[in-house]
Symmetry: C2
Amino acid sequence: MAKQKATNVTWQDGEVSREDRFSILRQRGATVWFTGLSGSGKSTIAVALERALFNIGKLSYRLDGDNVRLGINKNLGFSEEDRTENIRRIGEVAKLFGDAGVISLSSFISPYKADRDEVRSLHEAAGLEFIEVFVDCSLAEAEKRDPKGLYKRARAGEIKNFTGIDDPYETPVDPEIHLKTDEMTVEQEVEIILDHLRQNGFIMQQQIPSADNTTNTASL
Amino acid sequence: MAKQKATNVTWQDGEVSREDRFSILRQRGATVWFTGLSGSGKSTIAVALERALFNIGKLSYRLDGDNVRLGINKNLGFSEEDRTENIRRIGEVAKLFGDAGVISLSSFISPYKADRDEVRSLHEAAGLEFIEVFVDCSLAEAEKRDPKGLYKRARAGEIKNFTGIDDPYETPVDPEIHLKTDEMTVEQEVEIILDHLRQNGFIMQQQIPSADNTTNTASL
């Protein structure tokens, strides 16, 4: 890695390119987009994947309700228009992260195919990878888990337009990764995504330090 | 670095923390916010700083009109309300980048003190650093340069509400860094910012590889 970097420095006068950033990180930026019912396990898998990536020295960043709905999207509600704008902005942020070199992990129900496809298009137009991960959990199972008690409230009519109850979840047609959560452990799910990232060149082998690159990396 | 990382893995079971991400990158995420008149040199300095950071193996990412006005903020115009929302969203994106560990470089005129202070508050509330860089260039000099021919058009009345002509630029009161561009070269300006980043612990010395950490970094 250090040798490669030094080469870049020699032949590039202008801006730092996306590939330059990828070379610093020894990974390629990408968007891992989890979609599925409330309670399907999207966030749990994203947290476990984040940990697994960290363990091999890779930089990921989770985009979720906590840091998005309270920040960049705090002026959005739950109307159809606002839901679409919510997903659009998250898609644009994920695109910027991918361009920066970060592997972002987005966990949003994102029930509408058109919204997901729009985010995919944004990425493709920018030459960035959109990895759609369908977190496939039956409604019965998700409702049984009901970790936040939301299904119960939706069934009682206290929450309207709840995905799976009185609002549709549009199943992904051809996702990059299809996780049948009723049949797998979280560890197995994480391993499937890691394999995808490895096999498609998003995460590269860490360089084994050796004596001859000492001067290159100690450049500060 | 490798040893430190291995330690984190041992004692943390839960999520990956901000500090974990900083340790992977050997830098602390932060927002470098350039503010100044059109033509003052904000983007030029940001490009040169990005290059200088890359040369020492540090990850930065420029947020500017190209990747923001055409993306996350493409549904915003130039009304006062939209300008404020423009800066707010950029501030929120910068905050996410800082949390991820990236040093973001924002180049926007951002003429209103209230808007800049709002972004500063967002960062402080999140425990992140906002480094305001006042790119101080006289109106006479900026208008003489007029790289995009915008001042000429504003003087001709073809552009309304142009900062410095018929819209105010509110000078930063106590910016972290004040660059008097009429008296300095771009190289000197970059060095001042790098010094600030070094002295405040945002960029850390690269680890010198040695034989004893070979096994830790070759973990993929």
